[in-house]
Symmetry: C2
Subunit: 518 residues, 2 copies
Amino acid sequence: MTEQGAASGGRRRSRTGGGAARRASRSAVSFDTARYITRNIPDLEVLNEEALEIIETNAETVLEEIGVNFVNNPAALERWRAAGADVRGERVHIPRGLARKLCATAPSQFTQVARNPERNVEIGGRNLVLAPVYGPPFVRDAAGGRRYATMEDFRKFVKLGYMSKWLHHSGGTVCEPTDVAVNKRHLDMLHAHMTLSDKPFMGSVTDPERARDSVEMCGILFGEEFVQQNTVMTSLININSPLTFDDVMMGAMEVYAENMQASIISPFIVGGAMAPVSVAGTLTQVLAEVLAGVAYSQLVRPGAPVIFGAFVSSIDMGSGAPTFGTPEASLVTYGAGQLARRLGLPYRSSGSFNGSKLPDAQAAYETANSLNMGLLSGVNFMLHACGWLEGGLVSSFEKFVMDADQLGVLHKMAEGISMSEEAQAMGAIREVGPGGHYLGCAHTQAHFKDAFWKTDLLDYKPFETWDEEGARDTTQLATVRVEKMLANYQQPALDPGKAEALAAYVARKKAAVPDAFT
Amino acid sequence: MTEQGAASGGRRRSRTGGGAARRASRSAVSFDTARYITRNIPDLEVLNEEALEIIETNAETVLEEIGVNFVNNPAALERWRAAGADVRGERVHIPRGLARKLCATAPSQFTQVARNPERNVEIGGRNLVLAPVYGPPFVRDAAGGRRYATMEDFRKFVKLGYMSKWLHHSGGTVCEPTDVAVNKRHLDMLHAHMTLSDKPFMGSVTDPERARDSVEMCGILFGEEFVQQNTVMTSLININSPLTFDDVMMGAMEVYAENMQASIISPFIVGGAMAPVSVAGTLTQVLAEVLAGVAYSQLVRPGAPVIFGAFVSSIDMGSGAPTFGTPEASLVTYGAGQLARRLGLPYRSSGSFNGSKLPDAQAAYETANSLNMGLLSGVNFMLHACGWLEGGLVSSFEKFVMDADQLGVLHKMAEGISMSEEAQAMGAIREVGPGGHYLGCAHTQAHFKDAFWKTDLLDYKPFETWDEEGARDTTQLATVRVEKMLANYQQPALDPGKAEALAAYVARKKAAVPDAFT
């Protein structure tokens, strides 16, 4: 745990001892991070007005007639009752139009502040923010194979994320550090995001208490008052589909909303299991669930920032295994994007979805399908944008850098087509003429350096060169890149007083209660 | 060469000897082929009206001011002069508006007839026809590595194409059979397409004489009169970009146009070398070239079917190597689709573009990027839809079946979202309710068999099962699938008289001239 040591290196110094700060500033290496994407291309709209209205009408019918369950949450039931819902037991029947009306106080766009203000992200509008894989209990790399994830793995992923140019966000549970007690690992995870990176990050959602710890740690990093007035975390709140809101996730969401922190309200759907097998049916349920969840967030605190989430996969009806990067999930994602825009809410999808066991061609096909769909469906916050493997059971080191390289493609695509005089290139076409070539012409010389997206990973060498260098496939190239990035990692500077206070907070909290592993 | 033997099995029988025909019919196994795609989703339009008008205006300026070269082709220059162009030497300056006017006689949609009428394809409109890789001099498979392609390899690819459900077209030079003389290999290639498959195919373009042979062989297969009245070949005519039309390609195109056979008029562009480094500049040149080429086809024969082609790749400005599946090429492809639709012409792009040496993750990312872009850019004829590797130097057996499986994803995506009562699934949502699951409900039971796209290749098994079965990656699974398909191949029935006549034609033509290898 060397990174942990490095992160708390200023521990014995006083808050005013500027020596460490100056040294940190001198030795700080800034890694390039691209600005979040702002799309200059349109969204693909797969549903027409009539279809959208049918789905919206059906979703209201679901909320009114069938209703949703808020489990173990009397306060939520009380809020709903006060808002005019028909509450019977834990079932909340929401009168037609009420949820949509409540959603209106949620902002259509918000800023998530990073501790390095250059890394702030705008979530909503025409923007797209990319965040890494979330949640896998296993990690994989070529050398070590598939194994349970540890806190050491977690820190490596945070470092890779910090150094990945096309990744705007440090994410949350980039892997599940199974070697740390369940009731304490959120402290180490947040500490890693706060100290090993300066990109924005996500808070803990596995218990309302842990959400409160997340807010308190942000209070140390950003200042308590600052946190109350700015969104510094975007956290992942899954709905227990179909139509069920459990007390753990809702409890965490309540903490975040009360503190003006953002939540992604996200149905978790394996099509055919948690939602109907049809795309239109799934869209109806997704919309009903998000309407209820977002409305509830606004009952907790009007104006709290939220994101319209969608996590959709299909199922292999033969084996019952979930499948990813499939066309039905893409159609749901496109459709849900349209529904989110009509609701005026930022929209979240999933990036590097795939069901493969290895970072091979299957993984890449399915990931590229998901990435393209995310860009063109108008997504504002793409979770799992890199590193996901094996249906979300595995965070892959190689795939993390492979996918992260492909995220550069999305940036270039989103720029669209420049129609400036210079881009029209009529001078170049005149200069070169029939039968000539453009390699040496003035226009090419002026623009070749940034004309084309450039990979940091893939191989375009001649066959013979590639063969002499070992005939390596993409995974082998990625292994080298992972090692090189981790070897070159340098921690971003952090005020030593804050570093000390964060480390002290984590140590105190961990000492206060015994370890729990469930 | 057992396939060749099988194909000419009826050789010694008389044309009226029905015994062989009956046996062929009894033993014929029909392999499922999906109908060509008809899109029920919109195209992505990356250019607005103003941008489109600028590009169209600039393209007319290029044709008028700079002009295009028709090389070694006095007849072409004469046709242009007669049509009102300003011809100086081999340079044709086309007055503003003339080329577009001449293009108006080209059909916006046409039928390419296959010898099995169930395999006929409609090229144009909202349709998308998928054809395999074209042109590589090398083949690769896991067992044999990378090697020069032979006629035996060629036949294997035709068989795989015939058996690939999502492939509508048998293609043309699926690999370049380097073991057959250059001046004779077109005969063997066409013979293979005609006898080993019953899907539509492409003709030879490497010499006008070989185009004539192609037409004559089609005369045997379909009947001479039928060929004059129906399009039975779609052939690939590359423009020698920038702005040059050589006599070989134009000579082949003239033969096809005169015989009402279709040509894809396709600029061949590596961005930064054969066109400006900018997307807008490339689009301008592509449009100018296609306008001139299509206009010329209509000067040869008004009404001849043609396709607006685009072959676009980028260049790695460091090494000079071409790159594939990159965002700039995607933007050109999207933009060119819009320009083609405004011209009222069918549109062609390239499918499985990639620059990788192996069918690995790089190959799959780049291919998936190209396939998605092809679907959403409104392509009507997708060449290289499967099997392409290493920037077009290699036809890969494994990648052929890997890509062909992904083509199923395009079919499902193109269907869009059904809004039928049944698809709305309100009954299912009512039946299951909050907290339930859909696996057993009536709606799921009724639809699970065809609700989700199903792979024939990829692995979704649990990790343990997959591990026990050998922990195979996608390429290893594909090797098995290639072997299995070839082992199960059965030749489609063909009238023995036609089979005999085709074999005799090929034999006679091959005997008539000495081998040439350049």
